[in-house]
């Protein structure tokens, strides 16, 4: 009797388990309504019945907006479940749709009990079925000969162990898997073809559930499958328990977590002594000792130190995003003292322009925009955040503080009201329109998109982890679970975008009051004004008097309230957003100030199929022990602190690598925002850890880090190519030379303005339009999240709708048209030409002066010759100024202007 398979007891177990689930759910009171519905008899049977028109009843709202993670599954669930879409997190559990059923289900009570009965019922059926349907050897042979080949040919590509993630969680390669089914439920009910999903799918009658996707099977094949199910779906037992395991996305285990904590980026910093003790004839700083060891190992020699002109140009662009002046160059080149370079770096680090350059790097990370969605009520001024970042970097605010204030300045004792501007990191987050005429499930999806946006920004910016990947399933590669994800989602579900005053609470309260009163007065003034229009002369006079009085009160109120007109910053405060039904089909949003909430895990990322509530906390793998739930309000402050208290090693590695990347053009880890399993491994792990350790030891001082990096021999190398060495290491992974850098749009444009003597050095304040006469630094150009200025788009400005780990540097002909034909280029060329003509006499002297201004060097003979040729070939029609303008334009457009050695 070896053929008899104990599926029936197994089936009973499944059913029993669902009974337990149902029972458990029943205890969760009304929060679990949805949950119960999943196992409800009535609605469940709708699914199996396959009544036509079901789809019309289904709350189609849930299909709108199904967003990011492929919730599209809802749209056409049937086809997707049975098809092999990779990743299939999208295959949303359409259970929720099928089982949710028609309107009115909401009102039903006792779901828990109903599902309990259902579950026992199923268990009973399972037992009975087991008794009736024994599997004979003949049947199994028949299965192997006739049925299995069909399954293999048409189904296994997507529904078997041969695919990492079977579509819709369904596998058809074992009897257990068939019975366990996928997200829609059991694929086969033995003996009952009419109730079997598989049969329904191959029947193609249900437009939403048609398998195989390429086309309906021939009639005889379909009949065969029907017959197979009718005979009780005989299927030989499998030996491997692995194979029998119902498929589904990977689940994180305690083992994964333990191993995860040992992953290179997540383990504690490992202090290492550099292999080389020094005195190698090259190394200047500790950094170099690590690099030298690697170079030696790879059989490479470093490059000579760059000449001083190159060095000052490199360092100045790097730290300030501006070219050095000719005087600065000459002073540095002529400075004989051994610490001249060190003093140069210190001078640059002390410049207020440093914050403008490095602030822009950070704004890429923070997805900064000057313009937020039009429907927001915020009146805040985005630039306050930009200026805060610039100021913080100039002041060398310790990085841990820098980050913590951006997440929770309003909740930290250590931050002043002026620091509330830091909250712009969250306060300027992208928001998505919530159409209240749509159903709550739709809006919940939109809200869930916003959580994901915040989690993604926080995860990648500060932790170098793609936490958002765990929204629909446990992270596929990193030890981040869905629980971790929803634990963070709760923080953002308890946080509201809100303007923040930059003055102490008491004063702010007075301003708030005054603004309210002014608003009331304005309302009153409007009324009176409109009344006046209809009034007769006498009444008008009286109303005029009234108006004058109102206006006086208004002015008085404003002048008596200090800081009344002081702009407020885009920030956040503590409030929970509730998405509530408003009538049968519509939605109401409610903010509960000062209230924090945990959110329910969303199965497969679908808000319509909530799982258990998840307490707000820090991700488990990043926590030192068991993660403690957040207790203070939303938990924003605790989150901000946890980054540095629970996972300082990771936080330090990430920022050290970012700074390194911005200095060298290539990171020690080449994926600056992915330190997970999918990211790159560090080229110099000991160096990274050593630098991170010392960085923390230096109080998270970014200026210390800049200095340490820039004083290294590695940084000071020449960038000249060398065919022999680049044959060994073409990507310069081992830093045998300095990388040549193409300037981003901002320093390039700034340098052109500076060279022409037209750069307007005023710092801060509202953004400029990047047109016409704008002459301030490009960091002050308006950034519009969804309508980026064409010039910014043209030159690889990162789309500010999401975190940007690094800029790309594309080279297109359209960019060069800007050089050839834009008024910007032509006008700057003209004014620089005019200045040179006025300033100097003689072609040679003028060309020299131009080279000094633009490239901080003298022209060589060949360049002088080219200039002479260009400028003197004259048919007599072109004015001198025009010829020089043409010439200057060429210099401004040349590669030397855009690249830094």
């Amino acid at each position: 009797m070896p053929t008899r398979v104990g599926f029936a007891p197994w089936f009973a177990i499944v059913a029993f388990r669902s009974a337990i689930v149902a029972f458990r759910s029943a205890k969760v009171a009304c929060a679990g309504t949805r949950y119960f519905r999943k196992s409800n008899v009535d609605s469940g049977s709708r699914y199996f019945r396959g009544a036509k028109g079901d789809y019309g009843n289904v709350d189609s709202g849930s299909r709108y907006f199904r967003g990011a993670k492929g919730d599209y599954g809802n749209v056409d669930p049937g086809t997707r479940y049975f098809r092999g879409a990779k990743g299939d997190y999208g295959n949303v559990d359409s259970g929720s749709r099928y089982f949710r059923g028609a309107k009115g289900d909401y009102g039903k009570a006792n779901w828990g009990r109903a599902s309990l009965w259902l579950a026992f019922g199923l268990a009973l059926i399972g037992l009975l079925a087991g008794r009736v349907q024994a599997q004979t050897a003949d049947e199994l042979e028949w299965f192997e000969r006739r049925v299995r080949p069909l399954l293999v040919q048409h189904c296994y590509e997507c529904h078997s162990a041969q695919t990492d993630e079977p579509s819709g969680g369904l596998r058809l390669d074992s009897r257990e898997a068939l019975l366990a089914g996928g997200e829609l439920g059991a694929a086969v009910v033995p003996g009952q073809p009419d109730s079997s999903l598989l049969i329904r799918a191959i029947g193609y009658a249900d437009t939403n559930l048609q398998m195989p996707p390429d086309g309906k099977l021939p009639t005889k094949d379909r009949e065969l499958l029907v017959e197979w199910v009718r005979r009780g779906a005989p299927f030989p037992a499998v030996e491997s328990s692995q194979e029998a395991k119902p498929a589904g996305p990977r689940k994180l285990t305690a083992d994964d977590l333990r191993r995860g904590k040992q992953f290179w980026s997540l383990r504690p910093l490992v202090p290492t002594q550099p292999a080389s003790a020094g005195a190698d004839g090259w190394s200047r700083r500790r950094i170099d000792l690590f690099l030298a060891a690697a170079l030696r190992r790879e059989g490479l020699q470093p490059s000579m130190v760059a000449d001083r002109r190159t060095l000052i140009r490199r360092a100045t662009f790097d730290l300030l995003g501006l070219p050095p002046s000719q005087e600065e160059v000459e002073a540095f080149v002529g400075d004989p003292s051994p610490d001249a370079y060190e003093r140069l770096i210190d001078r640059l680090l002390a410049s207020p322009h440093h914050g403008e350059r490095w602030g822009r790097h950070w704004l890429d990370v923070a997805r900064y925009t000057d313009v937020t969605a039009s429907w927001l009520e915020n009146t805040g001024q985005a630039w306050l955040y930009r200026d805060w970042v610039i100021r913080a970097l100039n002041q060398d605010l310790p990085y841990d503080q820098f980050v913590q204030r951006q997440l929770a300045a309003d909740l930290m004792d250590s931050s002043a009201p002026a620091d509330h501007a830091a909250l712009g990191f969250l306060g300027l987050s992208p928001t998505y329109w919530k159409e209240l005429r749509l159903a709550p499930d739709v809006i919940k999806t939109v809200v869930a998109e916003e959580w994901e946006e915040r989690i993604d920004a926080v995860g990648r910016s500060f932790l170098g982890l793609t936490l958002a990947c765990a929204r629909c399933h446990d992270h596929k590669f990193d030890p981040i679970s869905m629980q971790d994800y929803y634990a963070l989602a709760g923080v953002f579900a308890s946080t509201r975008l809100a303007d923040q005053p930059l003055i102490p609470g008491g004063e702010a309260e007075r301003v708030r009051d005054a603004r309210r009163q002014v608003a009331t007065l304005d309302e009153r003034i409007k009324q009176v004004t409109s009344e006046r229009k209809q009034a007769d002369a006498e009444r008008q006079a009286a109303l005029d008097q009234q108006l004058a009085e109102l206006d006086r009160q208004r002015r008085q109120l404003i002048s008596a309230t200090p800081h009344y007109d002081l702009p407020w910053a885009h920030g956040v405060d503590e409030a929970s957003l509730l998405v509530l039904p408003d009538g049968p089909d519509q939605t109401r949003l409610e903010y509960q100030p000062g209230v924090a909430q945990n959110v329910a895990l969303q199965i497969r990322g679908n808000p319509a199929s909530p799982g258990p509530l998840v307490a707000r906390r820090y991700p488990a793998v990043l926590s030192r022990g068991e993660p403690e739930p957040f207790r203070a309000g939303s938990g924003r402050r605790e989150l901000a602190e946890a980054i540095f208290e629970q996972s300082p090693a990771l936080a330090a590695r990430v920022i050290v690598n970012r700074v390194w990347t911005w200095h060298f053009g290539r990171g020690l880890v080449t994926t600056p925002s992915d330190f997970g399993a999918q990211g790159a491994r560090p080229s110099h792990p000991e160096l990274l850890d050593d630098l991170a350790e010392r960085f923390i030891g230096q109080g998270w001082s970014l200026k210390w880090l800049h200095r340490e990096i820039m004083l290294s021999s590695a940084y000071q190398q020449s960038s000249a190519d060398d065919p022999r060495r680049s044959a060994v290491d073409p990507e310069n992974r081992w830093l045998w030379r300095m990388n040549r850098r193409r300037l981003e749009l901002e320093p390039w444009r700034d340098a052109i303005l500076a060279a022409c003597g037209q750069l307007d050095g005023r710092m801060g304040g509202p953004a400029d339009e990047l047109d016409g006469s704008a002459a301030r630094r490009t960091v002050y150009a308006r950034v519009h999240r969804h309508e980026l200025h064409p010039l910014l788009q043209l030159y690889d400005f990162p789309p500010p709708a999401a975190h940007s780990p690094a800029r790309s540097a594309t080279t297109t002909p359209l960019q060069q048209l800007f050089v050839l034909n834009s008024p910007f280029f032509r006008q700057r060329s003209r004014s620089l030409a005019a200045a040179i003509l006025a300033e100097q006499d003689g072609l040679e002297r003028r060309v020299e002066r131009l080279h000094e201004r633009l490239f901080q060097r003298s022209p060589i003979a060949a360049e002088l010759e080219l200039a002479r040729e260009f400028l003197s070939a004259d048919d007599g029609t072109l004015a001198e100024a025009e010829r020089w303008t043409d010439y200057v334009q060429v210099l401004l457009g040349s590669n030397e202007m855009m690249f830094v050695d």
């Binding site: 028109g53 789809y55 019309g56 189609s60 709108y64 907006f65 199904r66 967003g67 492929g70 599209y72 749209v75 056409d76 879409a85 990743g87 997190y89 999208g90 437009t207 190698d280 004839g281 090259w282 170079l295 020699q301 470093p302 329109w433 159409e435 005429r437 159903a439 990947c469 021999s713 000249a720 190519d721 065919p723 022999r724 044959a727 073409p730 990507e731 040549r740 193409r742 788009q793 690889d796 789309p799 999401a802 790309s808 594309t810 080279t811 297109t812 002909p813 060069q816 048209l817 050839l820 834009s822 032509r826 060949a862 360049e863 080219l866 043409d886 457009g893 040349s894 590669n895 030397e896």
Partner: protein
């Protein structure tokens, strides 16, 4: 046994190319950026690394399989046209006028009343007899070219999200547009023109996010051109100099080349420097080429007359001129804002709109056919969604995402057919449903790309245009 590291001078810099020969292809692409505009990623990656290693992709010219279409023109009726007036006749509406049978109890974006029959008659068109509305008499003559998809559906009845889904494959404004994916997969065929051009005589809702390259490299973004004026110099920013004659610019360019080459030689080769040098030359050529390509005045009076007048006619004609020159993807938005969004005075407005598109589209299809371009140019028509068979405000129609019509022509699809069905009233797709993901999968398929394999790694995930969904609609592939 030296512990000393001796900083070395660069060896001779004359053998400049050996370094770049060592680069792996990915690095090469990264370094060269748009300098290799003519090549798509797929082609570069597929080019055999060693002789004899020709893989499947290189055998088919850099695509995953044999491309049926090489270029795409999308005629975008922004606002959402009502299918029941144009391509999906529903005679039963007459019978149930003013009523709301159960199957129309779907939630629309706004409240709608009873069924509102379309006053327009349908005729079988061409040999195939595909029914086409009397509103489109000339297009009806092209019926045999059309593959009418009557069962398209999308996820959202709001313009913004629906536009995003149609263009970017998702409602979240952070993903690359379909055209960027095309370009990423295939590259451009013309170095002197942008590979992806968006024409609109104004601004479609959501604007530039609809053609963003998002996390794909920047050269794959669409180039937006407002063709409200048909002067090429007004259409393309910085296309030509206002003051410099070509001869002077040529001299500038020669000087620039000389300086850049000297600069490069001194540094011993650098792909980034070289690629900018080349791009500068291309830009110079582009001034002529693009001026010519975008100049409708170079068309014969006959062809101008064929297309007719108006922005949309100009857009169609420009599209033909561009695909003729190898531009990979041209989108023509019907107009500023959302002209097809007929919540009021529907019939009257549609009469005008249909008149406006009929002649240009018919002319475009005929013209492409006559020039031998239609077989490899895929033309796509449709809006971001359709409209309701029920009335809104008495004489208007609301958004309908449950079922609407789009059509394809040329580029490897079977002409003279309809595919899929909506219900009796044309409210929702019920048979052979085509989700936008399916449409995208099919477009990619026709271009020779497998939508599941055209991926880009970003933020820890391999992204696709079709996310985790989409299936190719095989019955319509010719």
């Amino acid at each position: 046994m030296t512990d000393k590291l001796r900083p070395a001078e660069p060896a001779s810099t004359s053998t400049s190319n050996s370094a770049s020969e060592m680069l792996d292809r990915r690095t090469l692409i990264g370094r060269l950026g748009g300098g290799l505009g003519a090549l798509g990623l797929a082609q570069l990656l597929a080019a055999p690394a060693s002789a004899g290693a020709a893989d499947a992709a290189s055998a088919t010219g850099g695509t995953h399989f044999r491309p049926r279409a090489r270029r795409v023109i999308q005629l975008f009726m922004n606002g959402g046209p009502y299918q029941g007036d144009l391509f999906d006749p529903k005679p039963l509406l007459e019978k149930y006028a003013g009523q709301r049978p159960e199957s129309v109890e779907l939630r629309t974006e706004r409240k709608t009343a009873g069924l509102l029959p379309s006053p327009f008659k349908f005729q079988p068109g061409g040999q195939s007899g595909v029914p086409i509305s009397e509103l489109l008499p000339r297009l009806s003559g092209c019926a045999d070219e059309l593959c009418v998809l009557r069962s398209v559906h999308t996820d959202n009845p709001n313009h913004g999200p629906a536009l995003l889904l149609m263009n970017n494959g998702t409602i979240v404004p952070t993903r690359p547009s379909m055209g960027s994916w095309f370009l990423y997969g295939l590259g451009s065929e013309n170095d002197s023109l942008p590979g992806y051009v968006v024409l609109c005589p104004g601004r479609p809702v959501r604007f530039s996010i609809l053609w963003t390259s998002a996390f794909l490299p920047g050269q794959h973004q669409g180039t937006y051109i407002n063709h409200a004026s048909i002067d090429p110099r007004k259409m393309i920013p910085y296309l030509s100099s206002d003051e410099l004659p070509a001869s002077r610019q040529r001299r500038q360019l020669e000087l620039m080349r000389a300086l850049n080459e000297r600069h490069l030689a001194e540094r011993g080769g650098d792909a980034a420097l070289e690629s900018r040098l080349t791009a500068m030359e291309t830009a110079f050529r582009m001034q002529t080429e693009a001026s010519e390509a975008f100049d409708l005045n170079r068309e014969t009076a006959r062809s101008r007359a064929d297309y007719g007048t108006g922005h949309f006619a100009n857009g169609c004609l420009l599209a033909r001129r561009l695909v003729e020159r190898g531009v990979r993807f041209v989108q023509v938005y019907y107009g500023d804002g959302q002209p097809w969004d007929t919540h009021n005075n529907h019939d009257e407005t549609v009469r005008r709109l249909a008149r406006d598109i009929d002649q240009p589209i018919a002319a475009l299809l005929r013209d492409l056919r006559a020039r031998g371009l239609l077989d490899e140019t895929l033309v796509v028509w449709g809006g971001e969604f359709g409209r309701t068979p029920t009335s809104e405000n008495g004489n208007g129609r609301d958004h309908n995402h449950y079922g609407f019509t789009m059509w394809l022509a040329g580029g490897g699809v079977r002409g003279g057919m309809t595919y899929g069905e909506t219900d009796d009233f044309g409210f929702q797709a019920i048979q052979d449903k085509v989700h936008i993901h399916d449409l995208h999968a099919t477009l990619l398929h026709l271009l020779g790309l497998d939508h599941e394999r055209l991926t880009y790694r970003y933020a820890g995930r391999d992204y696709r245009l079709t996310d985790v969904a989409g299936r190719v609609i095989r019955p319509i592939v010719g």
